[in-house]
Point group: C2
Chain length 509, copies 2
């Protein structure tokens, strides 16, 4: 059995690479002359190149050419790290004239290969633009360079009792410009909404080098088309975001959480409704974990599990978090909710455990956040980040499992688990298929099956991760032909030479 599987995996890898690294279109490579040109206006410490008077070994470009998962590999010879918007403008202008492809790069923490080159494009890394330009502690409006790291900004506004409107696992590395370019969601979306609402202004270098200054600090401005919205989620394909103005909310004074064990998935939606009603404005997370995901998390030592008798008969779990302005009020609301739930004639939950201190609070979160790590310890995961109607979460997981079973793939040496977890509040389901190994057979059983399933529910094949290089071929499952046609028209209008992050979001023409 070993030889055939080995062959199948080789084939599989080959197919994936062919799918994901289409040939670069008629763009020019960076030459020594280009590097010499950049040296006229960039500091020597802003240019990293295997070409020109101070060549470095290609290995030193590895952190820029490869994504953090080790899945996508670019072949750039040159990385520039400008310090000002004017420098970005000059770089882009030159690349436009010379038809050199540009990959705008932030913290390079994306999951879909959007921030590394497909071929030998120039990497324009924003990491050296990392100044806070202004912060108004009264309005909470922050203006920052695109290269500011999310955690640094969180630390910057904290003494003023403000928080960033988004929070991600990658916060220690990801940059605010990249967050905006990818319309990052994360853990605070339920409470503070999307970046389309929080971002007040942007400064963008357009593909011809023009600086589009829409870096307003106004909450309300109805003077013409809201151009900045186009760049939020465009993944650097329409221009390079160099500055961001955004609204930061006041810090909550208290956070609490509780884990609830449910006898049936059917109770999730009534429970969500009840919780929203009773916790109202202090509800900040409502996370779903199915039984298989929970068991895996506990098995691999993620967070604190409930007692055996507490989880007996539980089909799934929900983690509820509150964040509010006064601890005693929040605790009272949460205690009352639990009491109502447990004393109801037809209880929606079997049991509920309220965290009593910061360690328990973290431990409950670790159960939910640890699913990712547990999955990677258990086997090889096929991960799908999808949006579907809340009511179909379980169906999508069950149908996928049945489909794999019908193909004879559900066994100890094939697919071991099909699990679902995610943000109920946002309609965002993480569907993970955990297998013994990556094989072409499983891959072909899953795609386009899952994409078609998502499309049948009018869902999204990428709820928060974006399209990048990975899903350009799957865009049509979530967007109509007319929508894609108009995306192409906008791309053509802003970037007629196709130099800006080529091959990302839209397939190359």
């Amino acid at each position: 059995m070993l030889a055939p599987r080995f062959v199948a995996r080789q084939l599989f890898v080959g197919v994936r690479r062919w799918n994901h690294t289409p040939a670069i279109p008629a763009l020019s490579p960076v030459t020594e002359q280009d590097v010499a040109h950049f040296a006229k206006f960039l500091a020597p410490t802003s240019i990293f190149s295997t070409l020109g008077p101070n060549p470095i070994p290609i290995s030193e470009l590895s952190p820029y050419n490869n994504d953090w998962m080790g899945k996508y590999h670019g072949k750039a010879t040159t990385v520039v790290k400008p310090k000002t918007t004017e420098e970005v403008s000059k770089i882009v202008k030159h690349c436009c004239e010379r038809r050199i492809g540009i990959v705008p790069q932030g913290g390079n923490t994306g999951l879909v290969g959007g921030s590394v080159p497909i071929g030998n494009e120039l990497i324009l890394n924003l990491g050296s633009m990392s100044k806070v330009r202004s912060f108004d502690p009264v309005s909470g409006i922050l203006v920052a360079d695109a290269g500011c790291i999310l955690q640094s900004l969180t630390d910057y506004v904290a003494p003023h009792n403000h928080i960033m409107p988004l929070d991600l696992g990658a916060k220690g590395s990801c940059q605010i410009g990249g967050n905006v370019a990818t319309n990052a969601g994360g853990l605070r979306l339920l409470r503070y909404g999307s970046l389309h609402g929080s971002v007040l202004g942007l400064e963008v270098v357009l593909p011809d080098g023009t600086i589009l200054d829409q870096l307003t600090t106004l909450r309300k401005d109805n003077t013409g088309y809201d151009l900045k919205q186009l760049f939020i989620g465009a993944e650097g394909t329409l221009g390079v975001i160099t500055g961001v103005s955004l609204l930061t909310p006041p810090s909550p004074q208290a956070s609490n959480n509780v884990i609830l064990a449910l006898p049936s998935f059917d109770n999730v939606l009534p429970l969500y409704k009840t919780v929203k009603q009773q916790l109202s404005e202090i509800l900040s997370a409502f996370e779903f974990i199915d039984r298989t995901a929970y068991d895996l998390a506990v098995k691999h030592g993620q967070g604190r599990g409930l007692h055996d008798d507490e989880i007996e008969g539980a089909e799934c779990f929900v983690l509820v978090e509150t964040s509010g302005g006064r601890r005693e009020h929040d605790e009272q609301k949460l205690n009352d909710l639990l009491e109502n739930l447990l004393t109801s004639d037809e209880p929606l939950i079997n049991t509920g455990v309220l965290s009593q201190n910061p360690a328990q609070f973290s431990s409950l979160w670790a159960l939910r956040e640890g699913v990712t790590e547990a999955v990677s310890k258990e086997g090889k995961a096929y991960k799908y980040d999808i949006s579907v109607p809340l009511s179909t979460f379980k169906d999508v997981v069950d149908l996928t499992r049945e489909h794999l079973k019908s193909k004879g793939l559900l066994h100890e040496k094939g697919v071991k688990h099909v699990i679902g977890y995610g943000h109920v509040g946002d309609g965002n389901l993480h569907l993970n298929v955990v297998a013994d190994a990556y094989t072409l057979e499983i891959q072909n059983a899953l795609e386009p099956f899952i994409y078609e399933l998502v499309a049948s529910h009018k869902g999204s094949v990428s709820a928060e991760h974006g399209i990048g290089a990975m899903k350009t071929h799957a865009l049509h499952y979530s967007k109509s032909g007319v929508s894609i046609e108009w995306m192409k028209k906008l791309k053509q209008l802003f970037d007629p030479h196709g130099i800006m992050n080529p091959g990302k979001v839209l397939e190359m023409p």
Copy 2:
């Protein structure tokens, strides 16, 4: 003195009309043949025309041709009121082929002449598309025809304990499609954010008749460019919004308010900071009224005033509203805030009055909302709806007053009052200049003075009212040349024949 003033007023009216009604470009008028064509697919009750087999007198088109202020007057011969998106598509396709200008019209409640024709364009009124398409009481996601009246939608979601994310004075007439097309702000923006965040999807008929279906009900969908954002605030110049999907928040269980009298404007910002901190997530409004505005409201019987000794020495007033999930918690927070404010060593306020019942609650709001009516009773008002940094609110009012004084215009027979009030939380100042009469001299003293003042603070010349036909000439005070150039490029891309709401937002080419 009477004759010269009369002449000046006539001139003034003439100049305004010339400014605001530029010649229509090379578009075709609606003919009998066009009406006959519409009759092939529209019900007889969907066509109102002075032309064709069933002509009606032009006076019957008056409610469509004229705005509610009686300030803008169109000359349309024909109004169509389609019942379906397909009908809208057919109408637009025909107009595109025939180069007939189209004015998409909702409730016609705008303040800048955006919803009535400049010349004899066809009026496409959405009022007959007024069905709720779906509502999910769990997620709170509502999908509705563009012609649904805001109040009807409020009533529709109320039994499910949800509210609309926006609230306006015009809610009894304005339509959700118009709200979205104008990016309406209103009273709930501080709490629920802008429509760029609340709107999840749109269905739009593009200027060539194509239906762009982005009517998703997903909270998270990162699959390509967020095209729908372009139509939010485009005032119908890029396409006709026919359907809207939006997120409705759970209803608050309790609302309270308090009016605070401040010894000095300098205290407004520290007070805002304190209030935000202490009321946190239940703060739903923070409205500013300067002393002159307050006195006018009281003089003209708007709402309940404070006692004379309570307002002695007060330079301005602030109305604070809370909306939260539990009455006793909210009241406790508000009481504690008041106690802290009044017992502080250096009190930010002179006095504060908390409403004790629904009647008092309404009465306090009436003070703030009644300023508009008080102003209209006091004289003729030049109204400016601007966004400027919070810290400059008073300066902008004072500088305008001084400027008018320096021109010798501040006297009983000229400008009587210069007042400021508005949404501190949103940075939105309503600057009103109340005069004995509209005169060219005052007009010329105010413009471009105020627009330049706004521009010097990087503010917005239209915070929430939009550009419409009224402010196309002033767009450049708030948007850079590059921004305006890109708006024009987008207009050209979507509407190459310039048929869609011509002369609005952008001046005609």
